[in-house]
Each structure stands twice: as structure tokens, then as C-alpha cells.
């Protein structure tokens, strides 16, 4: 029944989705949609409600108003494991691997939702059970290879380098065979080389596997390179949406990140820098960033919005 007219229905559709914790509306009447095969980014200053939106989508929270549809069906009040079975998988902002397990065992957990053996099969080691175990292991090995972590298969997850742990989380999420993968700050804490590799991996997830990608990311270089469309949240409200170019030029977005009046300064500096770089590095291919991305990234603007404290008081 999921094979039906996808031209008209979006893969994900939030209809004035709201969640209030007491008086705080962490996600406030958000309307957005994601189509199958897109790479969409969700950005915004710290505390804007991005991860909370992920939690609404993956069943950890239930919207207090409005609803979120996945594949045309509401995910409100649906348990997380059911949502995983329907085809949404995710990674976590603060990596939540099963730390004491090996990499391979972590990915094998991801196969859980697509397999079905129970205690009976386990106790009597039925042929069906043995076949399924072998298949789970083989699939998990493939997913590790896909993200380039084969050499770590038997290493304990918590002993992996930081960047590898993030990739392992992605492998675990992919192993559930999702239609949509939600990546919560996949590039956080990565160096330039690692995040360039991550870019490639995310493109491969979409292009080779046909999986739709929704990502939260503070690293604008990554966002501008990857995302086809961007949604911007601030104080739980959707303040802008559009292509990377549109978002970079959007005064409301600059204000959200930098405070009032900052857009003028940013524009001036952008023009100056763009002028300086007109003939340089224009022809270079991704994952090199364009001039504007460099601008946003420089001066540590991304990681430390100056008005972060002010927001928390509000």
C-alpha cells in the first residue's frame, strides 16, 4: 500500500506541529515537508527546537498540537520502534552507541526491526534461526563496509575514534533500512577531512541507496554543500525556508544567528570577500565550499551565536 501516488504526498509532512513543555513551546506550529529523495537541512541557533522536532518525528515525544505525517500516516503517539519499522531512523546529537558492544554488534541491533526470530528459535537453534542470524551478521558487515568501518568490526564501540563513532551510528541507522534517515549534527566535532568524507557518505546514502536525508547541522560548510533545501528554526518557530542561496541572504536568518543589525555587517563583509575571490577557486568541485560558506564559517559564528544566552532567558 506504500507503493501509491508519491507525486502528491510528501514523505514527511508536519502540519502546525507543536510541542509545549509547560509554558515553553519548544516546537511551535511548524509546517514543513520533505519529499522522497531530498536532502533537507534543519538549522537554527542552539535551543531552537531542532532536536525536539527530531524527537517528534521519531516518536520520542508526541506533539501537543498539530501532527507529523510520515508516508501519509500520522506518527503521533506511535511508539519509536514502530516508527523505526515504518522507515524512519536516526542518529543522536550526543552519540548514543551501545558503548560496550562491538561495532558489528551495534549494527546488528539495527537489523532487529527487519528480522523476527524469538526465544523459541534461539533455544532450539532452528534452521530458520541459524539462517537469520547468518543473514543479520552478513548484512551488518555490509553496512560497516558501506560506511568504511570494516577494520573496526570487532572493536568496542566506545574505543573508536570520534569520527568513526559518528559513522558507526549512521551504519546502525542504515541497517534498519529506513526511507528517511535523520542525522543530528553528524559533523559535530569532526575535522575538515572527516566532514568532507561525511559529505560524500551522505550523498552516497541518497544517491546509491535512495534514502531521503534530513539533517541538523551547525557546520554551515556541510549544510550548504549538502542540502537542497533548508528550514530554519528559531525559538521553535519556522523563520525561513529555501535553497542554501536564499537562506544565506535571508535577513531573518542572519538576525537569528547574530542579533539585530548584523545583516548589514554580514552583507558588507560578504561583498568584500566575494570581490576578493571572484577569479579564484570558482571552478573547483565539491566538497570545497563557496565563498559565502567560508564567510559564515569564519570567526566561529556557527558554533557560538552571541545571542545564545539571551535566548535562554526568554
Amino acid at each position: 500500500m506504500s507503493e501509491t501516488s508519491t507525486a502528491t504526498t510528501h514523505l514527511v509532512e508536519a502540519k502546525s506541529a507543536t510541542i509545549a513543555f509547560g509554558g515553553l513551546r519548544a516546537v511551535d506550529s511548524v509546517d514543513l515537508h520533505i519529499d522522497a529523495g531530498e536532502i533537507v537541512a534543519l538549522i537554527g541557533p542552539n535551543g531552537a527546537g531542532k532536536t525536539t522536532f527530531f524527537n517528534l518525528l521519531t516518536g520520542i515525544y508526541t506533539p501537543t498540537e498539530g501532527e507529523v505525517l510520515f508516508d501519509g500516516r500520522s506518527v503521533s503517539g506511535v511508539k519509536p520502534h514502530v516508527i523505526a519499522a515504518r522507515g524512519i531512523s536516526r542518529t543522536f546529537q550526543n552519540i548514543r552507541l551501545f558503548k560496550a558492544m562491538t561495532s558489528l554488534e551495534n549494527v546488528m541491533i539495527g537489523r532487529h526491526v527487519r528480522t523476527k526470530s524469538g526465544p523459541f528459535g534461539a533455544t532450539f537453534r532452528t534452521p530458520a534461526f541459524r539462517r537469520e542470524e547468518a543473514q543479520i551478521q552478513a548484512d551488518a558487515e555490509r553496512w560497516l563496509e558501506f560506511v568504511g568501518l570494516s577494520q573496526f568490526a570487532n572493536e568496542i564501540a566506545s574505543s573508536l575514534p570520534y569520527g568513526a563513532q559518528r559513522r558507526l551510528e549512521i551504519a546502525r541507522a542504515l541497517a534498519t533500512e529506513p526511507k528517511l534517515i535523520c542525522l543530528d549534527e553528524p559533523a559535530a566535532g569532526m575535522n575538515n577531512k572527516e566532514s568532507a568524507e561525511l559529505n560524500q557518505l551522505i550523498f552516497r546514502i541518497r544517491d546509491e541507496l535512495g534514502i531521503t536525508v534530513l539533517l541538523i547541522e551547525h557546520d554551515m560548510k556541510v549544510v550548504m554543500n549538502l542540502a537542497e533545501r533548508i528550514y530554519v528554526l528559531d525559538f521553535g518557530k519556522l523563520i525561513a525556508q529555501g535553497t542554501p542561496g536564499e537562506i544565506q541572504a535571508n535577513p531573518a536568518v542572519i538576525e537569528a544567528y547574530l542579533g539585530k543589525g548584523a545583516d548589514a555587517i554580514v552583507r558588507e563583509r560578504a561583498e568584500a570577500q566575494a570581490a576578493a575571490e571572484t577569479d579564484a577557486s570558482r571552478g573547483s568541485t565539491p566538497p570545497n565550499a563557496s565563498a559565502n560558506d567560508d564567510l559564515l564559517e569564519s570567526d566561529g559564528i556557527i558554533m557560538t551565536p552571541p545571542n545564545a544566552q539571551a535566548k535562554e532567558d526568554a
Binding site: G37, K99, S117, E145
Partner: protein, 427 residues
């Protein structure tokens, strides 16, 4: 672009198999699939020693030791069940004796009338039916208990299970529904429990003297020693297999990070329910056997102190580790009994009363040993590799995971994004 969009809606069952090339197998040695020759030799020696033990003990006139070993065996089975709940699934249970009690009483309630119905020839087989019946009843109780406690964890779960254990004991003591016969227990006066299958025949027909001292012959204690040994081997095999499976992995995931496990598609409710049911099953098996072995089921056995002892077996032996549970049971159940046995046998000739004094202090000595143990080996005597890593490795981030999980379970949000402590956000 359009082809990609089409792809997404026509996904084949195994995405990896369809889209990705086969990986080189990189996980050759599955847990427990191959054992080294040395291990095999040691296991054979251990098996022979266990089989020969009753004959040797009998030869030295230490019949009590056979009985002690049989009781220790029952506690290993009981702790093996608790190990599923506590060690694998990470759920604290302070009321283990309740399942032991359900097994014992169910066995009595099934066995006594059934034996009468079967007559003297076949009456012994009532034990087998009682064993299965006790296991089923106990599992069922485990399932029913899992329903209300599904949302609880940690200390809260411990308190509920503690209360459950006490309620069961008090109900039994007060002749609940007229079934349990109060403090006297079962079977009632005038009713008898038949000998288990084959015991009478074995007593009559097996007598093989090896020399003046050692004789192969059967008594009730020897019989039950072997029955319990067989049940124990079955329990070890079954529990190992269950741990080393899809279900076992889901328990491990649940124990480490419930939120992540659920997000990856693990049905945490089902995993917990299975842990309770399969854990209770071994409580029932041990309880049914215990009641036939003792020929009585009475409430004072199933007290809180014994529940704590079973938990101590698992924790001190090493949570999630079957060898740990075995060693733990030997230590916790064995040490006090051995102290008593030692006092009775070797101190009775000394100054009057000293044997009794030492014997009475055995729980104190045990307590001291436990404190020392926890200080020098916090992960247990023979810890499971994985649990050892959980305790020693990964440091504070592990704790933060658990706190956040608690907050979520209690229905209070863990705060807005980024509020979780100890994350890698700023790294």
C-alpha cells in the same frame, strides 16, 4: 532524480543484500561457537568430577555435602533465571523468591492429586508433570508481573518486586484462597508425595561396590543431586543460547540505552516481557524441584533474605555471566553451609558451644566477604566481558544516558535540545 524517488518506494526486503556488494566476513569467531581444546579437556574433567562427586562424598561419610551441593545447584538455576532479568536486561528484581514459591506450590498442588490419580505404579511421574506445571505457572506469573512494572526501572522496579515477593510470602502464610495451607505448607497432613520416577528402582537395583570404601548406590539425596545436575546443564545451554541471539542482543541494547534501542527498532516492551517470563521460568523449575527434594513447600523458605541472597549471587558472581553465577552461588550458598559443616565436624570436640558459635556467625562472615569482594572486584568474581566494559569503560557519558532515559520514562521531557549532560556537542 525521478528514479531515486521511485526507488525509495519500492524497497526490497534486504536493502543491504540488494544494493551493497558482499562484504568479506570479518567476524569469524562468534561468541561460544568454537572452544579451545584446553577448555574442552577442562570441561570433561569438571563433568567427570561432578558425576563422581556423590560416590566420593558417600565414601567419606559426608552425605550432608551431597545435599549441600544439590541445594547450591538449585540456587544456581534460580540465579540463572534472575541473571536474565538483572544481568541481561538490566532490570533490578528483589523478589526472586516469589517465583521459586510459585514453582514449589504449583508443583505440590499439581503433584499430590495427580500422584493419587496415577496410582502407586505411575505416581512418581507426577514430578515430571509438576516440573513443567511449575515452570508454566511461574512464567505466567512473570508475565503478569511484567505488565504493571513495564514503565519502571532501577530503584522503583526494585521496590515493586520486593513488595511483590513479600506479598506472595504473606499470602502463602495466610492460606490464601485455601490453597497454601498456611504456615504448615504443602502437602497437607495425611497427604503424601510419591517418590520421583525411578528412585525406588534405583535404590533397589543399583549397588556396585568399587572397593571397601566407595560404592555406587542411590539414596534420595544422590538421586536429586543428579536430577538437579541435569536441570542445571539444560538451564546453562538454554540461557546461553537465548543470550547469544537476536533476543539476547535486544536485552543488551535495552540495558545499555533504552532510548537508542527503541529508536533502532527494538521493541523494548517485548524484550522486557520476555526477560521476565524466561527468568521466571527457571524460578519455577527450581521451585518445583526444590519442593519434591524437600518433600514440602512452606512459606518460610521464600523470605526476603533469600531473595537478596539470590540477587547477591548474581551481583557477586558477575552480572550477565553464567560462570559468574555458578561461582557466585557456590560462594553465597556454599560458604555459610561449609562453615556450618566445618563447625559441626571439626569443632564439636573443642570447648563446648564453639561449634554453634562459629555456625551462628556464618552470615556475618559471608557479609564481610561480600563487602571485601565489592571493593576489590566491583564487576563480580567472573564478570561478563560486556558488563565489565559497561562498568569500567565509557565513564560519565554512560550515566548521563541513564539519567535521560529515566526522565523520559517518567514522562517529563529531558529539556530542550542539547540539555542532556555529558554529550559530545561541544567537542
Amino acid at each position: 532524480m525521478t528514479t531515486e524517488r521511485d526507488n525509495i518506494n519500492s524497497e526490497a526486503p534486504s536493502l543491504a543484500a540488494d544494493l551493497l556488494p558482499a562484504a568479506k566476513p570479518m567476524f569469524k569467531k562468534q561468541r561460544g561457537s568454537k572452544t579451545s581444546p584446553l577448555k574442552v579437556i577442562l570441561l570433561v574433567i569438571l563433568a567427570l568430577a561432578l558425576i563422581a562427586a556423590p560416590i566420593i562424598f558417600q565414601g567419606f561419610g559426608q552425605l550432608l555435602l551431597i545435599r549441600i551441593f544439590a541445594i547450591v545447584g538449585l540456587y544456581i538455576i534460580l540465579a540463572m533465571g534472575l541473571n536474565i532479568v538483572v544481568g541481561y536486561a538490566g532490570l533490578l528484581d528483589f523478589g526472586r523468591m516469589a517465583f521459586y514459591a510459585f514453582g514449589a506450590y504449583a508443583a505440590m498442588l499439581i503433584g499430590v492429586p495427580l500422584a493419587q490419580a496415577l496410582g502407586p505404579q505411575l505416581g512418581g511421574w507426577a514430578y515430571v508433570v509438576s516440573l513443567v506445571g511449575g515452570a508454566i505457572v511461574s512464567s505466567l506469573v512473570g508475565f503478569l508481573l511484567s505488565l504493571p512494572v513495564m514503565r519502571l526501572r532501577g530503584d522503583y522496579l526494585a521496590i515493586v518486586t520486593l513488595g511483590f515477593g513479600e506479598i506472595v510470602r504473606i499470602c502463602l502464610q495466610n492460606n490464601f484462597l485455601g490453597l497454601s495451607n498456611g504456615a504448615q505448607g504443602l502437602p497437607r497432613t495425611g497427604q503424601t508425595l510419591p517418590a520421583p520416577p525411578g528412585l525406588d528402582w534405583l535404590k533397589m537395583n543399583v549397588y556396585f561396590p568399587i572397593n571397601d570404601r566407595f560404592v555406587i548406590e542411590f539414596s534420595s539425596n544422590v538421586y536429586w543431586y543428579y536430577i538437579i545436575l541435569i536441570l542445571l546443564v539444560v538451564a546453562i545451554i538454554v540461557v546461553r543460547r537465548q543470550d547469544n541471539s537476536r533476543l539476547g542482543r535486544s536485552w543488551a541494547a535495552l540495558r545499555e540505552d533504552e532510548v537508542a534501542a527503541a529508536a533502532m527498532g527494538v521493541n523494548t516492551t517485548r524484550a522486557k516481557t520476555w526477560a521476565f517470563v524466561l527468568g521466571a521460568l527457571w524460578g519455577g523449575v527450581a521451585g518445583a524441584t526444590f519442593s519434591y527434594f524437600q518433600m514440602v513447600a512452606s512459606p518460610e523458605t521464600f523470605n526476603f533474605f533469600n531473595s537478596v541472597l539470590v540477587l547477591a549471587i548474581v551481583v557477586i558472581g558477575g552480572m550477565g555471566s553464567i560462570p559468574g553465577v555458578i561461582v557466585g552461588a557456590l560462594a553465597i550458598q556454599g560458604i555459610p553451609e561449609f562453615i556450618r559443616w566445618f563447625a559441626q565436624n571439626f569443632l564439636s570436640g573443642a570447648a563446648s558451644g564453639i561449634d554453634k558459635t562459629v555456625s551462628n556467625y556464618r552470615n556475618l562472615i559471608l557479609g564481610l566477604l561480600m563487602v571485601v569482594m565489592m571493593a576489590i572486584r566491583p564487576a563480580g568474581l567472573i564478570p561478563s566481558k560486556r558488563i565489565k566494559r559497561e562498568i569500567h569503560g565509557a565513564g560519565g557519558s554512560d550515566g548521563s544516558t541513564r539519567v535521560e532515559g529515566d526522565v523520559l520514562v517518567n514522562g517529563v521531557p529531558a529539556g530542550i535540545e542539547g540539555a542532556t549532560p555529558g554529550g559530545g556537542e561541544g567537542a
